[in-house]
């Protein structure tokens, strides 16, 4: 069949154009503007004076930025790897079940993922609230002291980490299950014929064949958790926001509470660069690690 290459290209361009236009308009253009604003002292709305690299250099000595960076790193540490492992374990368990039971159990694990963050916050507030939380009554029964979990620095991040894993594991479980189903059963049959034990089967077959999915889940988690905001904002409202500060919260605080668009943009650019660098590095590393096998 004869094809007209020029015509094909035209059709392709026409088909891509609406997406491209919207993408340029609502993503690329604002991003470029954000870079521009970060070199000015602009308020949230309107333009400001050029201040060069001031907004960036002051981050170095800004204690709240430091708290935000540390807390974000800590949160990533608490959630990314543990979250991936938990999801993998649950997926392995669920994949052993059959039929309706599997669907039911999967639904139970997936349910939290469809909840909006405000509902997640309310549910956990009912559990953790210092005066009325269910968990506090359990502590009372056990004769232990009540713990103001969301109001102390030491407990806050780990608790938000647990909530986040509970909330988001469902999606990772789905990805892992899809990966597990894609492994041909013949390979397992062959392994069984060769008398391979469970652990060997997992280590030699499941793990390497699941690797692309594992690295995908890991990357998605990493990017999502670097951008942590909602849970921290909701749980620290009125509490100790500056102690629980994370990077996106800091952008929000500078922009919307303190009306400093320029300084907020500088933090946002820093986070943007951080996410790009970390995720590219990480994906390459994971690919290398997978390729060795």
């Amino acid at each position: 069949m004869l094809t007209n290459r020029r015509k094909d290209a035209l059709v392709a361009a026409v088909l891509v154009a609406p997406f491209l236009a919207i993408y340029l308009l609502v993503f690329v253009w604002p991003t470029i503007q954000m870079f521009g604003i970060s070199f000015t002292d602009a308020p949230l709305i309107g333009s400001g004076e050029w201040v060069g690299l001031d907004n960036y250099t002051r981050l170095d000595t800004d204690p709240r930025f430091r708290t935000a960076a540390w807390n974000t790193a800590y949160f990533v540490l608490l959630t990314v790897l543990p979250g991936t492992i938990v999801a993998l374990l649950i997926a392995l368990g669920v994949s052993r079940l059959k039929g309706r039971l599997q669907a039911a159990i999967l639904a139970l694990f997936f349910l939290p993922y469809i909840l909006p963050v405000s509902v997640v916050y309310l549910i956990w507030d009912w559990v953790l609230n210092f005066q009325f939380g269910i968990l506090m009554h359990v502590l009372d029964l056990l004769g232990l002291d009540r713990i103001p979990i969301m109001k102390t620095r030491d407990w806050f991040m780990p608790a938000v980490g647990v909530v986040t894993i509970w909330w988001t594991a469902g999606f990772s479980i789905l990805l892992f299950l899809a990966g597990l189903r894609a492994i041909p059963p013949e390979i397992y049959e062959a392994a069984a014929l060769d008398n391979a034990g469970r652990w060997t089967t997992f280590r030699r077959i499941t793990w390497p064949l699941l690797w692309p999915v594992t690295s995908l889940v890991f990357t998605i988690q990493l990017i999502a958790q670097l951008k942590i905001f909602d849970q921290v904002y909701l749980f620290s409202q009125g509490g100790r926001p500056n102690d629980n500060m994370v990077l996106v919260y800091y952008v929000f605080q500078r922009a919307f509470q303190q009306d400093q668009g320029g300084r907020a943009a500088a933090v946002a650019v820093t986070l943007f660069v951080l996410v790009v660098v970390v995720s590219v590095l990480q994906f390459q590393l994971l690919r290398l690690a997978g390729g060795r096998k």
Partner: protein, 423 residues
């Protein structure tokens, strides 16, 4: 009917509708009144619409209080999508003027509304004034008060002959009342919002005012001995925690729940919780209760107050038509003059004529705590202050550990001072 005939009818119908729409002016209204007072405001809006049927119609939307509300106002005004009228906290006006969010209310506007500075208390009028210009019409002042459970206080023998708590005149006296309540078996003598530093700012600021302290002087935070006065204020509350006299790590809803369930005998909260108590009491679900002016812990009475006011947003690139502006002014004027019903939400109407009316004077518990109007202090006039303003997160971060006994007041004050002046 011919095609031409149909077209004619359609044109006539369109013109007809346009005529009706022009006759009735729709005023788009935003507020942040989500609680018991919001219910009362909806009633007032209904009354307004009934009274102005066919002429003006308020189309009201209630939004989330605090930062979400003010962020939305700022962004929508910048693109010309703000409402025609909105509620605003007087304490936020300095920041709003800096952001260019509000339209000035001119002398002609005030004449059109039939209102003037003479209709408001000087402090309230001053709260909506920036550099000699007015930016809002005050609807009310809403201070904090001391709520108390008469039954529990009576049981502890701490009710005086007028039915008020004993020991409202000194720190020792009030602490003794709290201790007596504790000894009589009350779990929390004072229900305190100790998990929410933003909320506690109101109490702490009042206690600073009782020592003649100021948060901001000549653009500097906590200069001179004001730092020590803040430490004193925090120290009083921290001591009550240490002695087990107030609830710890308690957030706002939990505090109200502790009080209404009788686990806490007293509570310092805004007058906007009056409807909660009145309504519960009317349903027979609440004990005998009362509300009085805050106790004098230091040298003189002082109570933090803010004011709900009506303002016109400065919509960028959109001139408000004269007819619309007249309608908005009529709304503000009517609301101010008919704010007696608003007082049932606990608030003290800003309009002096309403406060002087016999109906208001007879209203309880407002009459009991109305003495505090002479002792009200407002936020410092700075773009950094105001509800949900820039200073809020700094304060809260240090108030919460201090009020719950994790941090020394003096240490907290040092950090607060440093961070506030770095804003």
């Amino acid at each position: 009917m011919t095609v031409r005939g149909m077209l004619k009818t359609a044109i006539v119908a369109t013109i007809g509708f346009a005529g009706v729409a022009q006759a009735e002016e729709t005023v788009v209204w935003w507020d942040f009144l989500g609680g018991g007072d919001g219910v009362r405001m909806k009633k007032m809006i209904e009354d307004f619409n009934t009274a102005h049927s066919g002429a003006i119609k308020i189309d009201a939307t209630t939004l989330e209080w605090g930062t979400p509300f003010y962020a939305k106002v700022q962004t929508s005004a910048a693109v010309g999508e703000a409402p025609d009228i909105m509620t605003y906290h007087a304490s936020r006006i300095p920041l709003a003027v800096k952001q260019g969010v509000l339209q000035e209310l001119t002398a002609d506007d005030w004449t059109a509304m039939g209102l003037s500075s003479a209709d408001f208390a000087p402090a309230t009028w001053d709260a909506v004034t920036m550099e000699g210009k007015q930016y809002a019409v005050p609807l009310d002042t809403h201070p904090i008060v001391l709520y108390y459970n008469k039954d529990l206080l009576e049981k502890a023998g701490m009710l005086d002959e007028t039915g008020k708590p004993k020991g409202l005149d000194s720190r020792d006296g009030f602490t003794a009342t709290l201790q007596a309540l504790k000894d009589s078996g009350v779990k929390f003598p004072l229900g305190s919002v100790t998990a929410d530093g933003n909320f506690m700012f109101r109490t702490i600021y009042s206690l600073m005012g009782q020592q003649n302290g100021a948060l901001m002087t000549d653009g500097e935070f906590l200069a001179g001995d004001n730092g020590a006065k803040l430490a004193n204020a925090l120290g009083v509350l921290a001591d009550w925690t240490k002695a087990g006299l107030q609830s710890t790590y308690t957030d706002y809803p939990a505090t109200v729940a502790l009080f209404t369930s009788g686990e806490a005998a007293m509570m310092i909260n805004g007058v906007w919780e009056v409807p909660t108590m009145t309504d519960l009491n009317a349903q027979g679900k609440l004990f005998n209760w009362g509300a009085v002016e805050l106790p004098v812990i230091f040298d003189k009475p002082a109570t933090y107050a803010d004011s709900h006011a009506f303002a016109i947003p400065a919509n960028q690139g959109k001139e408000m038509p004269a007819a619309k502006r007249a309608a908005v002014l009529e709304v503000m004027s009517w609301m101010s003059k008919n704010s007696l019903f608003w007082a049932t939400a606990g608030h003290i109407p800003a309009n002096g004529a309403v406060v002087a009316s016999p109906d208001y004077i007879a209203m309880e518990p407002n009459a009991t705590y109305s003495s505090l109007t002479a002792n009200m202090i407002f936020d410092p006039k700075s773009p950094l202050a105001g509800v949900a303003g820039p200073i809020f997160d700094v304060m809260s971060t240090y108030f919460v550990p201090t009020l719950n006994g994790e941090m020394d007041p003096a240490e907290a004050v040092e950090s607060i001072k440093e961070e506030l002046n770095a804003l």
